[in-house]
């Protein structure tokens, strides 16, 4: 059947410039470019991934939006009509990749940061020490000391395992399967270089990466792919994935065509079989069940690894997080509704969950109200785009933030949202060897390290302007934030005063 859906984009080729080198034909992984004496684009196949544009040596290609493919209508937007047409043609759920792209209010952009003037001096990070070192893990509420026979003070409290981060950012859980092995390698090398962590996601850990254990979070998700005792001990932290911000309450599905030899070994499933992660863990139907899994993992790792529980930000997130901490988790990872995904039903991605800003604020406050904030660290995921977002998240109460999409963009991703097709032209979200080869792990890891270094410098500037020289003094310090253009209730939930109000 020939689709009646108008093309989303128009690929324009400047034939005067074009030298007919066919590089665009080779580079397009979506089969958009054909060569018949000259390059002929099939507009309908273009996803605007910008691969051809980037690699055309003559800059002869431009991609534009197909503006008048639908008559203007503020209610029946092109996107809505396109989706209806797709569903009318196929009768299927619409899939999409990456995070929620809709124009919901972005609360980060309604928060402004304070600075020092006169009465408290700002601090120059180029001249004074500026400390970002962060420890993730359960802390006791208080320390106890004893004195030995010489009167020397000795620490009597033994702390549980603490993970040191040189910068309060970790890479998000993205599985080998959803992304390529080269992408995994780039992430783990950058994590090592920058003194932080990468997260395996739910697809297990490839043997080649075992030597990076000190910079790895291993994930245990509902499919339990690649989970065995060596895996659980090849990391500094274990994360139980309950939910994902992009698709709360929804499982995952890695199609069999992506399950080649290496993924098969890593996930411990036969080659070519679908890897289906159920929506719930079928051994977790209550908080008690979760607690059992937390302690099963702690037993397996001999209590040497902190255990995180990752949930998506939903309406009752604060109470759920409190339960998770009381169930024994050392870390709570909250993933907001803008969090990314390799594939999710669009209806879920775009309509389910709540913004991370309010979820984070509610969880931090709830744990404080219950006097258990020290019992767990909070990782904030799903929608952190810049170092400013990171600073604001930390001020709202996060111990560290989690970046997925930002890391992918640093590696070359153009956010075309076609991760689920397996055709990623940039070698990131694909398993096709000819595409995977396009991503050089060394180059990509350097780009990731550069991003973290830039954020490190920017965060230090922010701390300096706030007149503090340690990240602890920003963490949870909502007094240093002001809201602009927010309603009273949202301000109350965020625990932030409106701009214009002094202390």
């Amino acid at each position: 059947m020939i689709s009646e859906i108008p093309p989303e984009f128009i690929v324009k080729i400047d034939y005067e410039q074009c030298k007919r080198c066919k590089r665009c034909v080779m580079n397009c992984s979506f089969g958009c470019m054909q060569f018949k004496d000259r390059v002929i684009p099939d507009h309908k196949k273009c996803v605007a991934c910008q691969r051809c544009v980037t690699f055309c040596p003559e800059s002869a290609i431009t991609i534009t939006k197909n503006e008048l493919s639908y008559k203007e209508n503020a209610n029946w937007t092109p996107e809505i009509r396109q989706n209806i047409l797709k569903q009318a043609e196929t009768g299927g759920m619409i899939l999409s990749g990456m995070g929620n792209p809709r124009a919901y209010q972005i609360l980060w952009d309604h928060l402004l940061i304070d600075a020092c003037q006169v009465t408290n001096p700002s601090i120059d990070p180029l001249r004074e020490p500026m400390e970002l070192r962060t420890f993730i893990g359960r802390k006791p509420e208080r320390l106890e000391f004893s004195a030995d026979e010489n009167g020397e003070i000795e620490l009597a409290t033994e702390l549980g395992p603490q993970i040191k981060l040189d910068i309060p950012v970790v890479f998000a859980a993205m599985s080998y399967g959803a992304i390529s092995l080269n992408a995994h390698k780039a992430l783990v090398m950058a994590a090592k270089q920058s003194g932080t962590l990468m997260n395996t996601g739910e697809g297990g850990l490839h043997k080649d990466l075992y030597s990076y254990a000190d910079n790895i979070i291993v994930q245990v998700a509902s499919g339990r792919f690649g989970v065995h005792s060596e895996y659980l001990n090849t990391c500094v932290m274990v994360e139980i994935k309950i939910g994902q911000g992009a698709k709360p309450g929804i499982g995952g599905h890695l199609p069999g065509e992506k399950v080649g030899e290496e993924i098969s070994k890593t996930r411990m499933i036969p080659v070519g079989t679908d890897a289906i992660s159920p929506a719930p863990h079928h051994d977790i139907y209550s908080i008690e069940d979760l607690s059992q899994l937390i302690y099963a993992i702690k037993e397996t790792t001999d209590y040497t690894k902190p255990v995180s529980v990752k949930i998506s930000a939903v309406h009752n997130v604060a109470a759920i997080a409190s339960g998770i901490v009381r169930a024994g988790a050392d870390i709570v990872t909250i993933d907001g509704f803008r969090g990314g995904t390799g594939a999710a039903p669009m209806v879920i991605r775009d309509n389910v969950g709540i913004p991370i800003e309010v979820a984070l604020a509610a969880v931090d406050q709830r744990l404080r109200d219950e006097g258990i904030r020290n019992n767990a660290s909070i990782l904030c995921a799903g929608g952190i785009r810049t170092s400013a977002d990171m600073a604001k998240a930390i001020a709202l109460g996060a111990d560290a933030v989690v970046i997925g999409t930002a890391a992918l963009v640093a590696m070359g991703c153009r956010v075309c949202q076609k991760c689920y097709t397996g055709n990623c032209a940039w070698g990131i979200a694909t398993q096709k060897p000819e595409l995977v080869r396009r991503l050089d792990p060394l180059v990509a890891s350097e780009r990731l390290s550069n991003l973290l270094r830039a954020w490190d410098l920017e965060l230090k500037e922010i701390l300096g302007s706030l007149g503090v020289n340690s990240i602890e003094s920003l963490r949870g310090s909502r007094e240093r934030l002001r809201g602009i253009g927010l309603d009273e209730m949202t301000l109350k939930i965020l625990g932030v005063k409106p701009a214009g109000v002094g202390q």
Binding site: C116, V118, T119, N120, P121, I123, E128, P129, E131, R133, F135, K139, P140, E141, R142, L143, E144, F145, E152, I153, E154, L155, T157, L159, Q162, R368, D369, E370, G371, R373, N374, L466, G467, V468, N469, S470, E472, S473, L474, R475, G476, S477, R478, E479, R480, G502, Q503
Partner: protein, 375 residues
């Protein structure tokens, strides 16, 4: 008034302790703080004194400020149900014209700024009834009630609540406040003083330093840039930060760490002004383990921003600075006296012959301890 009176401050501080426990009158401390007149702007001055009530040493001495008589009545009603009031009396002050005359010229070229519109100042010596302490300690009971009075009784404010000590503070230059409260008539083994330069002007008596809770007193020069998180760290522990001044967090942090968590004073100071990681990384193993654990567990108690602080308590006096010493502090010893002040001149003014004089390093505490019983 309590709602909107956060005050970043500039300020001068001075403190002195006789480590042998000999008591001396308030003239020296007034002269010392008066020398630093220009560091303040007349919008707040105050003193803390230890050992001033030997005859009521076993009672909690509440120094109260009331905005109006209704507040006093409400507060007394509140006290009656919760304490045994052994004695209550008006704070002795010299007010009006008599005061002006008395101050003029007495402490150098300054003075003579009349103290106007004082609140009702009253002191109460009270016992905690045995029946009230079945489930909580006496101190805990006092803290809870101080928080209640400050937050719930409109127009009432507890200036200090310790035993055998008291705070004398108000709106004005410190030397004038000192004369106003007749501090030359009190004898103490520790005196601390504060002259204030707030950058906005609520003119609120309760907002002056020192800040006191139980026998803790804090005088503070600087601003706590980490106030936001220090406040949120303290709140779940039952502290109500109603005064909206950054200084009160210091008093409450010491109360939490030293009294409630029972951690040694040196360690509490390490939590409030911890060493940098670059230094921790070079420490011997045992020290490193302690310093790391303190930073991991007490991150919310870290005080950031410029400050020099003198903490008084019944057994001693402690001075310390922020981690990069953004506010001045000089210390000196002479015989059994230990002095601390924002400026060396403020010490020389009262003790020209000094033994050791030094400026403590950033983040390093200077600790004065009472070595003998109070005489």
């Amino acid at each position: 008034m309590k709602d909107n009176c956060y005050i970043p401050s500039g300020c001068s501080i001075s403190g002195m302790i006789n480590e042998s426990g000999k008591r001396f009158d308030g003239n020296s401390v007034i002269r010392s703080i008066a020398l630093m007149h220009d560091r303040g702007n007349g919008l707040g001055g105050g003193f803390a004194a230890y050992g001033i009530y030997p005859r009521h040493a076993e009672q909690f001495a509440f120094h109260m400020m009331f905005d109006h008589i209704e507040a006093k009545e409400a507060c007394e009603e509140y006290f009656k149900d919760r304490f045994d009031i052994v004695l209550d009396e008006e704070m002795p002050t010299c007010s009006g014209g008599a005061f002006e005359e008395e101050t003029s010229g007495r402490y150098g070229e300054y003075g003579g700024h009349p103290i106007t519109n004082p609140p009702i100042l009253w002191r109460y010596f009270m016992d905690v009834p045995k029946s009230k302490t079945s489930f909580v300690s006496e101190n805990e009971y006092i803290v809870k009630n101080v928080m209640e009075v400050n937050s719930r009784i409109d127009g009432a404010f507890v200036a200090s609540s310790g035993k055998n000590m008291g705070a004398f503070k108000g709106v004005g230059y410190p030397e004038d406040i000192g004369v106003f409260y007749k501090l030359d008539e009190y004898k103490a083994y520790i005196w601390t003083a504060h002259g204030r330069f707030p950058t906005n002007t609520p003119g609120w008596w309760g907002g002056a330093h020192p800040f006191c809770l139980l026998d803790w007193s804090i005088v503070h020069n600087g601003e706590i840039s980490s106030y936001g998180i220090n406040k949120r760290y303290l709140e779940p522990h039952g502290y109500k930060l109603e005064l909206r001044t950054d200084t009160e967090v210091i008093a409450y942090l010491f109360d939490l760490l030293v009294r409630k968590h029972k951690i040694p004073m040196e360690m509490a100071i390490k939590a409030l002004a911890p060493p940098f990681w670059k230094d921790i990384d070079r420490m011997p193993e045992r020290e490193q383990r302690i310093a790391t654990a303190i930073r991991q567990v007490y991150g919310g108690a870290l005080l950031n921003g410029p400050f020099s602080v003198i903490l008084g308590h019944s057994r001693g006096m402690i001075g310390f600075n922020d981690r990069i010493k953004l506010r001045p502090m000089t210390c000196a010893r002479a015989d059994d006296m230990l002095y601390m002040a924002s400026e060396e001149a403020a010490i020389r003014e009262i003790a020209p012959e000094l033994g050791e004089v030094w400026s403590p390093k950033a983040g390093t505490a200077v600790i004065g301890k009472l070595s003998e019983e109070v005489i």
